[in-house]
Symmetry: C2
Subunit: 132 residues, 2 copies
Amino acid sequence: MTNHIRETYKDSAGLLRVISHPVRLAILEILEANNEMCVCHLEAILGYRQAYLSQHLMCLRENELVSDRREGRNVYYRMKEKGVIPIIKETKKCTSTKKIDFQAIDCNCPECESKISKQEKSDQHRGKKING
Amino acid sequence: MTNHIRETYKDSAGLLRVISHPVRLAILEILEANNEMCVCHLEAILGYRQAYLSQHLMCLRENELVSDRREGRNVYYRMKEKGVIPIIKETKKCTSTKKIDFQAIDCNCPECESKISKQEKSDQHRGKKING
DNA sequence: TTTTCATATTCGTTATTACGAATATAATAA
DNA sequence: TTATTATATTCGTAATAACGAATATGAAAA
């Protein structure tokens, strides 16, 4: 019986183990909210060193929870296993974790550049200051 | 931002960590299916050493996922945080883990004794053999 | 009041994971 | 080419978790 049970719950336990880390949870939630996101963007939002994030991304990638796509020098990540979304949702419900509004802070990837310049224009109209 | 996020997901990650173990998952599923269960029963079902199970029960208890109640020499455990049930359900969905029918095998706790003797009676009527 | 039974706890070792630092690679620009 | 930028990987150490073995505790039986 013993090994039978171990075998049965091995995969589930493994999946839970992979997502049982605050940084990986944050990455997954960001990807859920943003469809696709480049690494520099994740860096800007989360404020962790690139190499550190990359390690967590590797973990998520190797466990097939996310997929990556290179475009020039940038690499874009997206959710691959959408099944984790309800797991995380139920978990947050259970721990009454509030929602975070993930906003990028200072990202220069092509996509952000265009967004920022758009933002700059509209902010200039209202006399706002950017980047500092 | 960094510590903010870490803090936010700390509890969720912690909860997931606690349930990210095959034996603890199995215990939780048994408790879900059986309302209340004594340790000897868990031993019989799972086939692990008592001390080993007790360690996992301690982990679940300390993290307030289960509660315990002593009755004579037996200790009965039950689910305390029902919120983990949907988490586990979604996880199993995600890993396509099949359902296990948890059946006790050879347990002598008072409750089982009475069940077994009832069972023996009805089985004797049908000429079945028990325990061997 | 000693023994027995059910269960819990502690301790030590091994295995696994986290994470910083350094380095590698892939794409583009100079 | 060489430099630069974005990202990945590897490596070492520290922290944590798993688990076996031994032992402790609490309740009841003898």
